[in-house]
């Protein structure tokens, strides 16, 4: 199952893109039950494309909450357009999900 959920909604001629990503977003300062530091594991980069044009790039670090949520407002946006969300984390993992605006 994909780690990314995407939903869109029409708002006064614009399209709201909401995305929720399942990710631990560990900043490296938390300890586990044994008192050992949990290594940093966070998303570094989030890319959002609309019909394969990059519209948003976001750089972040461990100070974004666990299971990060973002929303953006796309001007225009038509039914049948594709929205692609891609993330990359500091350990090299990556995931991508495509959504067709309904």
């Amino acid at each position: 199952m994909s780690s990314i959920k995407i939903r869109t909604k029409r708002l006064e001629g614009n399209t709201q893109i909401r995305t929720l990503i399942t990710h631990p977003m560990e900043n490296g300062r938390n300890k586990d039950a044994q008192g050992i530091y949990i290594p940093a594991h966070y998303i570094k980069e989030l890319l959002i494309e609309h019909n394969s044009h990059l519209i948003i790039r976001c750089n972040m670090a461990g100070s974004i909450s666990k299971n990060p949520y973002f929303d953006f407002l796309l001007k225009d946006g038509k039914i049948g357009d594709t929205v692609t969300v891609t993330w990359k984390d500091n350990l090299g993992a990556t995931d991508s999900e495509e959504y067709i605006i309904e």
């Binding site: 614009n14 900043n27 990059l54 948003i56 976001c58 972040m60 670090a61 100070s63 974004i64 001007k75």
Partner: protein, 158 residues
């Protein structure tokens, strides 16, 4: 005829190369950029982070064209602090979110293309009571808005 065809092809090639470099300059990170990025997220001192990001550019304060939504005055749980930033400024290209007293003050930076409205929302972690700062870059100028957020750890007040 062959000459002109060859010329045409080389022209097309150089044109596409040009547009590629332009696009990469806008959105894709080069190596130098990646290093700068790494540094801006790893800095621990708030003033140093500001200096590193904006290099002495003037930050125009408390601009009424930037608004915070969802950001509470008192956050009950510092692990999840919702924030939404909207702006009525024109030509917004970047939005930065900083939390002054976090171990690493820079939380996120958003690069927005003209196809999106100047509006972002996210959820932040906050180590303790601190100022949350949004800096919006619009038309080469920087606008800043600050809000103090109290973090109540375990419901005991901050």
């Amino acid at each position: 005829m062959f000459e002109s065809r060859r010329k045409f092809i080389t022209n097309m090639l150089s044109l596409s190369a040009c547009s590629l470099t332009f696009a990469s300059g806008l959105f894709h990170s080069s190596l130098a950029h990646a290093q700068q990025l790494k540094k801006s997220f790893s800095l621990r001192n708030f003033d140093e982070t500001i200096e590193h990001l904006f290099r002495g550019e003037k930050l125009i304060d408390n601009h009424n064209k930037i608004k915070f939504h969802r950001l509470p005055r008192v956050a009950e749980n510092g692990a999840v602090v919702p924030i939404k930033i909207t702006s009525t400024l024109k030509k917004v290209t970047k939005i930065y979110i900083l939390v002054e007293k976090n171990p690493h003050p820079l939380s996120a930076e958003f690069f927005l293309s003209p196809a999106v409205e100047p509006q972002v929302s996210a959820r932040l972690k906050m180590a303790k009571t601190s100022n949350v700062i949004a800096i919006v870059e619009a038309d080469g100028k920087f606008f800043r808005k600050i809000k103090r957020v109290k973090v109540a750890v375990g419901g005991c007040g901050g």
